[in-house]
Every structure is written in C-alpha cells, then in structure tokens.
C-alpha cells in the first residue's frame, strides 16, 4: 500500500461482518485518505456495498447483521457505545443505487435534512440555492422548485439526492453505485460532479463500472469474496496490479 498518506479520514481495522452465520466481510483493513475519491470495485456479492454501509452504520437496520472490529473516523471508532448514530450519519452522507427522492417538492427534498437538524427557515433558503448550484442542478430546476421531485428525470433525481446529501454538510459522502440506473449522459454529469466534490469531501464510491473507477477515483480497493485483495492508487491498480486476481478481474477475465 504505497503512496497513501498517514492522515486518513476513515481507518478500518480488523473489520468482520456476518449476516446470521454467513460471513460477508473478512479482516478488512484499509485507510481511506481524506479529500479524495476512493473506488471500491469487485464482482457482485463481493461485499463492497456491505462495506460501504458499515461506514455510516446503515447495516444497523439489518437485524441479523453482526459486526466486529473498528471503523474509525477522525480516530474515533464509530461502533463505540457512546456514538450517536444520528450525528454520525449527518457527518457521513450516502447516495444510493437507485435515485430515491422523497415524494415532495424539489425544494422540500433539499430542505428536509437541514430542517430535521433544526436549521432556521431563512438559512434553509440559502442552503437550498447553494447546494442546487453546487450540484449543477440549478439551471435545470430553478423554475420548478415547487413541483414534485418525482417529475424530474432519473439523472436529475440522482443529482437532487446528491444535493440533498450535501445540504446536511457532511464530511464524507458514500456513493453506492450511483450511476447504475442512469444513461451515459446523466452518468457523465454525475462523474463531473463527484470530481468537483472531492475538493471539499472525502468520497467513497462503489462501482461496477471499471472505466468509471479509472476515470474518477484516486485510489481503488479490489474486493473479492468479502476480502480486500488489493488497495492502492488507481493508476497502479489498473496499470500494474500486484495481485494476479486483480489483473484478471480488471482485464475482464472473470466477474
């Protein structure tokens, strides 16, 4: 693991995860650098999404899920007893595979997060404008902030979900295959957005699309059967992988 600075926003130590008696993650150790894009790649069912959902404790919702090990953000284990999950999820945002805007207006979708975190009404207006601009959605939806978010196109909906996440001002944003339900043009827009976002946020993205990982990520982790096989700078992983299995996957020999 060369080329990774010592300071890491997310440090994962000896993470093991079981669904019932079925082990889904095995001895995960990884340091995810801050203000960069880290891609998680690997075949279906390799545990990359499961791992992603460990970082904001979304797996808490699954009753049979059992976790051992530590996930440290700013050197604080988020699985400690005294951690407030609500506070954690405010710091660690998440964008999902399928766009999931709330069945309310475009404005209310973005205002939802600030509202539940007790931001005052007049500040919310500013937040909505700013996040819409930052998510490059403003020009497309500024004249229909009051119409239902469900009327937007799939790509716009996904950018709205990103804007919604940004409105809570997280430090980390997790993307779980954000483009898998989108057409190439929408995908392109989201990728541009992610590249812009890494100036301010630490980004972890699960993707099935190898070209996408190569295009937008600084670091790449290759998952296989619940283990991290290789982790390093994206250039190195794609051009000169140390592991045979990584090379086989990247060149399309399996998966």
């Amino acid at each position: 693991m060369s080329g990774i600075n010592d300071f890491a926003d997310i440090k994962v130590e000896d993470l093991n995860l079981w669904y019932g008696s079925n082990q889904a993650l095995q001895d995960i150790n990884i340091k995810i650098p801050s203000k960069s894009v880290t891609a998680l790649i690997g075949p279906s069912g390799c545990g990359k999404s499961t791992f992603l959902r460990c970082i904001n404790r979304m797996n808490d919702l699954i009753k049979v899920c059992h976790i051992e090990g530590r996930v440290k953000i700013d050197n604080k284990n988020i699985y400690d007893e005294d951690v407030d999950v609500v506070e954690l999820r405010k710091r660690v945002g998440m964008v999902f595979q399928k766009p999931n805007p709330f069945p309310m207006s475009v404005y209310d979708n973005i205002a939802y997060g600030p509202k539940i975190h007790k931001v005052s009404k007049k500040d919310i207006k500013g937040i909505v404008d700013k996040t819409l601009q930052d998510s490059a959605l403003y020009g497309e939806v500024s004249d229909r902030l009051d119409s239902s978010a469900l009327d937007l196109s799939g790509g716009q909906q996904q950018r709205l979900c990103i804007a919604r996440t940004m409105a809570v001002e997280p430090e980390i944003i997790l993307f779980d295959e954000p483009c898998s339900a989108l057409d190439p043009i929408s995908t392109n827009k989201i990728e541009d957005l992610i590249l812009k976002l890494k100036e301010d946020y630490t980004i972890v993205i699960v993707t099935h699309n190898m070209q996408q990982a190569a295009r937008i990520s600084d670091y790449t982790a290759f998952f296989l059967m619940g283990e991290i096989i290789e982790f390093g700078e994206t250039n190195q992983i794609f051009e000169n992988p140390e592991e045979k299995r990584t090379e086989d996957y990247i060149t399309g020999r399996f998966g």
Partner: protein, 297 residues
C-alpha cells in the same frame, strides 16, 4: 369430439352463471330497495322525508323524517372513527416499523381474531361491560349512548384500519426510509415525515373503509345505543341515546304490515344507507387504485 365440445361449453356456461349470480343479486337488491322505497313518496312528500326532523311512525298522520336517524348514524360513526383511526394507525406503525418480527407475528393473529368475532357478541359485551361503565363514569341516567356505540364500533373497525394501513406503510419503499435515515434523521422523524406521508393515500383508504364498516353495522349499535329517534346535539349528544338508520330497520321491519307507508319508509331509509355505503366504497376504491398506480405496483 362433438360430445367433448358440448361438455366444455356446458362447464363454461355454468361457471359464467355462477359469476353472474352476484351481479344479478345486486341488481335485484337495488330494484326492490329503490322501488319499495320510492312507493313511500306516493303517500308522503320526498322533502318531508329528507328534511324531516321527527320519526313518529305511530302518529296520525305518521311522520317519516330521516334526519334523526341520519344524524344518529353520522354521530356514532364519527365518534368511532375519531377513536379508531389514531389507535389503528398507531398500531399499524408499531407493527410494521418498530416491532420485532416475533412480536409482530404474535400481534397479527389477535387482530385477525378481533375481525372474526360476530357483531352480536360485541353488542353483548358492550351491553354488559361498557354500558354500566359509561353510566357510572359520566353519571348519566343510561349508559346506552352514542359514545358507547362509537367505542364498540371503533373496536370493530380496528382490524380493517390496522391491516390496510399496515399494507400501505409496508408498501413505502425501503429506499425512501434509508434515504431519510442516511441524512441523519431519527427513526421517528423518518416515520413521521417520510413514511406516513408516502402511505397517506393507503391510510385514507383504510379510514374510509372503516367508516363504511361502521356506518353499516347494525346489531352492535342496536344493542348499546338506546335507540331514541331524536336529533342528537353535538358534541353533548354523545352522552344521549341515539338511533341509527340500521338499527331502525332492524327494530321496526318485523312489526310493519307489508305495503304500508311505514314499510316503504323503512325501504327508503335502506336506500339512503345503501347509497351512502356505495359512495364510501367507491371513494375508497378510487383512492386505493390511485395509490397503487403511483407506487407502480
């Protein structure tokens, strides 16, 4: 060959007849109900029936004003809904969002059993347990009141409201709830601000079906509401005896001579009841359909 075709055709026709029976039965009910109801207006006026405030069947001439009965039904139903909706929706939220699968599995059969109890048993329970209780609590001459009927009807409407609300809440995509939780909202904020609004049309359908169930219920209300045909006040009328449309028909139908004005008046009341429940069911169906389309189910 010919024989087999004949047999196939025969089976098809008999199945069609079985299915057609329901339509025919409904048709005949409509015809007889409306025809016999309409015959009332040969001896007394339609406006007198619709706007009349007294139901004196034994006076000369008899007065058949439906308002006391209509308001009686509405009052008892409104009370039942006011009790059953908060309870039912709360129970549905608990079962679908909060309870562990074990507890949910334990609760559901009980709710189903509640739906299966015959209404006369509810009425009996109300008469023996609730009526004296209401009398004591409010210190009134009789415990047979609109409120008593409302409470009993609420119990009876609960299973409908719970199970349909629960379906509606379960139909809200998990992705929406996760989206809300991922923004750092609590489980309760998610339920209140995302899940319930998204399930609202389904819950409204549940409420309206509950209304339909309550307004058409006969035996229980007849046993616990005291059956006094006077226009109830609001809200103090909840502590007075009332008489509903259904109870009136059930009480008086056995005693009237066939073909008399009183006989036709009861049919007219039945027609009003029929039209009311028909509209309620249609509205509930419309809402349910709309929400199924919206959810893409």
């Amino acid at each position: 060959m010919f024989h087999r075709k004949l047999k196939e055709k025969g089976i098809e026709i008999s199945l069609f007849l079985a299915a057609a029976t329901t339509v025919v039965v409904l048709l005949f009910i409509c015809i007889f109900l409306f025809r016999d109801g309409y015959l009332l207006f040969e001896t007394s006026s339609f406006t007198g029936f619709i706007t009349g405030s007294s139901w004196y069947t034994a006076s000369t001439p008899p007065r058949f004003g439906i308002l006391p009965l209509l308001f009686g039904s509405f009052l008892v139903t409104a009370g039942a809904i006011a009790i059953a909706v908060p309870l039912g929706v709360a129970a549905a939220i608990y079962i679908s969002e909060l309870a562990s699968p074990k507890i949910a599995d334990l609760l559901k059969p009980f709710i189903e059993i509640l739906a299966g109890i015959p209404s006369v048993v509810y009425g009996f329970f109300g008469l023996v347990v609730l009526v004296p209780l209401i009398k004591d609590i409010f210190d009134i001459p009789t415990g047979q009141t609109a409120l008593t009927g409302s409470i009993m009807l609420a119990m009876m409407a609960l299973p409908t409201i719970i199970s349909i609300s629960e379906d509606a809440i379960n139909a809200v995509p998990q992705a929406l709830k996760e989206g809300s939780l991922a923004l750092g909202s609590t489980l309760w904020q998610t339920i209140y601000k995302v899940t319930l609004p998204a399930a609202l049309s389904g819950i409204s359908a549940a409420v309206i079906l509950g209304v339909g169930r309550a307004i058409g219920e006969t035996m229980t209300v007849l046993m616990v509401t005291g059956n006094m045909a006077i226009i109830p006040g609001f809200p103090e009328g909840f502590l007075d005896p009332v008489r509903t449309m259904t109870a009136t028909i059930a009480l008086e139908m056995g005693e009237v001579p066939k073909g008399s004005p009183h006989f036709h008046a009861l049919f007219a009341v039945g027609s009003v009841l029929f039209i009311t429940t028909f509209i309620i069911n249609m509205v509930a169906d419309k809402i349910k359909r709309k929400y199924k389309l919206k959810e893409g189910l």
